[in-house]
């Protein structure tokens, strides 16, 4: 069903009895051309672009739980392309361009809102670093504006400009960045893939890979064996676990990061703001809740929940940046499992097993990458060659010493 003003009007006139399910909840067949393990944003986007751009529709997306229960529904919904390194900028800018036309492409309202992201700086050194980043972005055709203190004050007068330790001196603004409704992204891609013949199979956990003579020929699942010519892993925080089933040992640690939403208030925060002196980022949802987060908890976890010291740390950062939120109540907080790589950058590559492809290591930045990761991963699966925008995201870059370390932290995942 095509969504439009007329379909809305027609259904409104007929008591909304004409709506059909957005996507098809499929039963697994015994064989496919491509099986995608993981029905999150990345897996669904991969399936969509495989079908749409490469005409490969005999595809199954296997999801161990229900659609959208993983990180696609647990992030803070920020989309941006304010990266520094050449290997990253082109990729994230491609993602940003796909976000900008996503809703027309999917015919689905993902509530993409280009409200801008402002990274605040609080010292001369930090201003220099942001000027450098902004220049790198502009050299690559990405929009960036370096604002001084008064320009920031005109935009966000409620910030704590005169903090004794971390006075706000200005910020780096990317106007095209913003937020998107994360669940709708999953549903939109699921609908687009499902309409083109992709089977989305829920409650189907992969328990093993069938590997014959170094070539993958299928997967074992909780709903039986499924044969496949190609198998693609896109399982975020569980990459190490699933990779181990195929004998892979990956440069990844799984960490928990927490996110928070406050009670709903009237419109206050017009864009996405990040605090440069601590680690804190915040935006306001259309429903009115403030959506915010901060650092990783710092230890490995598969628990999808964090601990109190980090909750405290995030809230302290928030109140230092904008004291006016001090009396707000937190409505919910939750955790998601991040596949943190050793250099803080992702992996889209073939694996040593023939026919087995890997999309992993998105750290805490997987949401903004959903469209381009799906696009580039589909390209790799369909054509067996790397997409130019993701050419730096190789699995062997650690062994080659060609790491892509945006923050320069070294192989210490909890610091990225």
């Amino acid at each position: 069903m095509h969504y439009s003003f007329f379909s809305l009007l027609r259904n409104a006139m007929t008591g909304h009895r004409g709506w059909t399910p957005t996507w098809r909840d499929a039963e697994p067949k015994s064989a496919y051309d491509v099986v995608i393990v993981g029905g999150g944003g990345h897996g669904l986007a991969t399936a969509y672009y495989l079908a749409k751009e490469h005409g490969i529709t005999n595809v199954a997306v296997l999801e161990k739980g229900w659609l959208g229960n993983g990180n696609i529904g647990r992030n803070t919904t920020i989309i941006r392309s304010n990266y520094l390194l050449p290997g990253n900028i082109a990729f994230y800018e491609w993602s940003m361009k796909l976000w900008e036309r996503l809703e027309q492409d999917l015919n689905y309202n993902a509530m993409v809102s280009q409200r801008g992201i402002l990274n605040l700086y609080h010292s001369d050194g930090q201003r220099d670093a942001y000027a450098r980043r902004g220049n790198a972005m502009r050299l690559n055709g990405v929009d960036a504006d370096l604002l001084d203190r008064e320009q920031v004050r005109a935009m966000l007068p409620f910030l704590n400009f005169d903090d004794a330790r971390f006075p706000i001196q200005g910020g780096l603004l990317q106007r095209r960045a913003g937020t998107a409704r994360h669940d709708a992204v999953a549903w939109g891609y699921a609908r687009g893939a499902s309409d083109r013949g992709v089977d989305i199979v829920q409650n189907c956990e992969v328990t093993g890979f069938i590997i014959e003579n170094g070539h993958v020929t299928g997967v074992e699942t909780t709903r039986g064996q499924i044969r496949a010519k190609k198998v693609a892993i896109s399982v975020a925080g569980n990459s190490s676990r699933v990779g181990a089933m195929a004998g892979l040992r990956l440069p990844i640690e799984s960490h928990v990061i927490q996110a928070f939403v406050s009670e709903g208030i009237k419109p206050l925060i017009p864009n996405v703001i990040t605090f440069g002196a601590g680690h804190f980022y915040i935006s306001q949802s259309d429903k009115g809740g403030l959506v915010f987060g901060g650092d990783l908890d710092g230890y490995k976890s598969y628990a999808q929940r964090g601990n109190l010291p980090t909750v405290k740390d995030v809230c302290e950062g928030g109140v230092a940046l904008m004291p006016l939120i001090g009396r707000l109540r937190i409505l919910r907080n939750w955790g998601g499992i991040m596949d943190m790589t050793m250099d803080g950058s992702p992996i889209i590559d073939k694996t040593p097993v023939d026919g087995l492809y890997l999309n992993a290591g998105w750290c805490y930045g997987g949401f903004k990458a959903v469209p381009a990761a799906g696009w580039c991963f589909a390209h790799l699966i369909a054509r067996d060659e790397l997409h130019s925008a993701a050419a730096a995201f190789r699995l062997d870059r650690f062994a080659r010493g060609a790491v892509l370390d945006e923050k320069g932290q070294g192989p210490q995942p909890n610091l990225h």
Binding site: N238, S240, R241, A244, R249, L250, P251, I252, E253, S254, G298, Y299, K300, S301, Y302, A303, N307, P309, M342, F398, A399, P411, Q412, P413, N414
Partner: protein
């Protein structure tokens, strides 16, 4: 999460930092396969979902390095011992 430091007793996790799972001794740089060994040592992780042996540092306490056995699915801590015990 509280960690039973053998020296200080049960202490809150905010006093500690971790560098992740124990990875064995540093490889021999003069060995012929040193490059491969250092790659494995520096970059590859088992990252198990379940009991995991990790190094934790009691930064805001006795400043000892600990070897902690912790379940990554539940955050339950089975044991914590001084890392130097049992080291080479």
């Amino acid at each position: 999460m509280r960690i039973p430091c053998p020296f200080c007793g049960s202490r809150d996790v905010s006093e500690f930092v971790t560098i992740g799972e124990t990875s064995g001794p540093r490889p021999d740089p003069s060995a012929p396969d040193a490059a491969q060994n250092f790659f494995t040592y520096a970059y590859l992780r088992d990252n198990p979902a379940g009991p995991s042996e990790e190094y934790w540092y009691h930064a805001l306490g006795c400043r000892s390095w600990l070897k902690v056995l912790r379940d990554t699915r539940t955050h339950e801590i089975e044991s914590a011992a001084l890392a130097r015990e049992g080291a080479r």
